[in-house]
Symmetry: C2
Subunit: 157 residues, 2 copies
């Protein structure tokens, strides 16, 4: 069953990108690659751990140019290679409740011509959560990160 | 990878029961059956919905003898028929964050002789969560519910 976003609660970034699905998948699931594209510059990821199984932990530390440091822990929920990756910060490793939860992300990729139809959906608990994420710069941030992903994987071909 | 409970954070009910795994699975995944055993009497479940897929919603309404009514919404995470069922209240349908989360449950069943080695683990975010659940009567409550499950499915054979 494919998920239909709720415009009141969810944010969606959809774009046709000119790199193949296999490289998009690789960029999302390889720590050394993810570190290079996941944060819009000048922010950067200093640390990344990916335990790629349902219930596995995802862990990144995002850093800002003025010494900011934000660790993020989440949990992978669904892993369909080259198609779909779902994770949430509402859970920790082995599905342990995080006590709170800001968002679940559903990232899908589908071959289209020589490129990829890329969709990233952020699901929030309520309208305030969606609004906060939008104000934090969801579209610009996830868009810039995707630009960086495309630029990076083009060098891998 | 099988999960190792953390004694500081998790509660575990393990028991050998004299009914086959297939019936235990059926009792956990059939709304009309779950309603009959899930709450220790005189509490009862008035409503139960089971969308049995990863990301599917589980919904029950528990009622007390003095008119208490507690709706519970959760999300299925892993479904391995006759072996393992994982769900959490940290997520709603389609993995949407619930905004909070009290526990994740990992229920496993394994054929042993003519019966079933039954294990239910409740994972909490912190020690306070585990303690609260223990004080709410985890062992007695889940134990009585399991007695009711066994009694019920014996009638189905």
């Amino acid at each position: 069953m494919s998920f239909k976003p709720d415009p009141k609660l969810d944010l969606v970034l959809e774009r046709l990108i000119d790199v193949p699905v296999e490289l998009v998948w690789k960029a999302w699931t390889t720590p050394e690659l993810l570190k290079q594209w996941f944060c819009p510059k000048p922010w950067y990821v200093s640390h990344c751990e990916i335990d790629l199984r349902p219930g596995g932990r995802c862990y990144t530390v995002m850093n800002g140019p003025n010494g900011e440091s934000f660790p993020n822990t989440g949990c992978y929920l669904e892993i369909v290679p080259n198609q779909k990756l779902v994770f949430t910060d509402a859970l920790l490793a082995d599905y342990r409740p995080a006590g709170q939860g800001f968002m679940t992300a559903i990232v899908t990729m589908k071959k289209e011509g020589k490129g990829t139809r890329y969709t990233a959906i952020a699901l929030h608990n309520d309208e305030a959560g969606r609004k906060k994420h939008e104000e934090m710069g969801f579209y610009e941030g996830w868009g810039k990160a995707l630009d960086q992903l495309v630029e990076l994987v083009k060098k891998l071909r």
